[in-house]
């Protein structure tokens, strides 16, 4: 079941401040964030976030059609390198 519209999209509050600061500084630094559960809002478009996957910060350049998804969707938490003896699978 989708989230009620009257609540608005879920975003961790401090993220808004962080994004605004980054916008104001107008440098294209990677903004490190841990909040994978936050929705990507229209005002984040164009910024680059480093979304933590439990180990590393995965750089995510936010584009227009990412709006409405969550940050976590763009930062995979599992690495699957293939089965042993599977010649087709490439090791990463």
């Amino acid at each position: 079941m989708p989230r009620s519209v009257w609540k608005g999209p879920f975003v961790d509050g401090y993220l808004l401040n962080k994004a605004e600061v980054a916008r104001a500084s107008s440098r294209n630094d990677i903004i490190k964030i841990w909040t994978r559960r936050s929705t990507i809002l229209p005002q984040f478009v164009g910024l680059t976030f480093g979304v933590y996957n439990g180990k590393k910060f995965i750089p995510v350049q936010v584009s227009e059609n990412m709006v409405g998804h969550k940050f976590g969707e763009f930062s995979p938490t599992r690495t699957f390198t293939g089965h042993s003896g599977d010649k087709k699978a490439k090791r990463g």
């Binding site: 584009s63 059609n65 990412m66 998804h69 976590g72 969707e73 763009f74 995979p76 089965h83 003896g85 599977d86 010649k87």
Partner: protein
């Protein structure tokens, strides 16, 4: 022979049943179309008048997304996910279930027919 929305030629079945042969029209839409045009559900396609066939055709063209258009839309949605490199897109690329189902067993619809492990030595007694 009734030709509605391109290639579909379902005949000698009841109208709400045969409309479902069109991609994009399921049980609900089929009944809805019949009700809108006040065609009785028991009517068979070969008993429809030319005028009724024409009205069905017009209604579908105007209000419903079917066949090629719908297929293209679905393909575009999947392509969007894949280009975005989000989790659902990655699952589509790998041909694995997208909505969090288990893959330890089952998931054969997405993965295709089971293949034996290549190169695994058989245990000989």
């Amino acid at each position: 022979m009734a030709r509605i929305a391109g290639v579909n030629i379902p005949t000698n079945k009841r109208v709400p049943i045969s409309l479902r042969y069109i991609y994009g029209i399921g049980p609900k839409n089929a009944v809805e179309i019949c009700d809108k045009l006040s065609i009785p559900h028991e009517r068979r396609v070969n008993q429809l008048t030319d005028d009724e066939v024409l009205r069905i055709r017009e209604l579908i063209d105007r209000d419903y997304r079917v066949e090629g258009d719908l297929r293209r839309e679905v393909a575009m949605n999947i392509k969007r996910l894949m280009d975005m490199a989000c989790y659902r897109g990655l699952r589509h690329r790998k041909g694995l279930p997208v909505r969090g189902q288990r893959t330890h067993t089952n998931a054969r619809t997405r993965k295709g027919k089971a293949v034996p492990i290549a190169g695994k030595k058989k245990v000989t007694k």
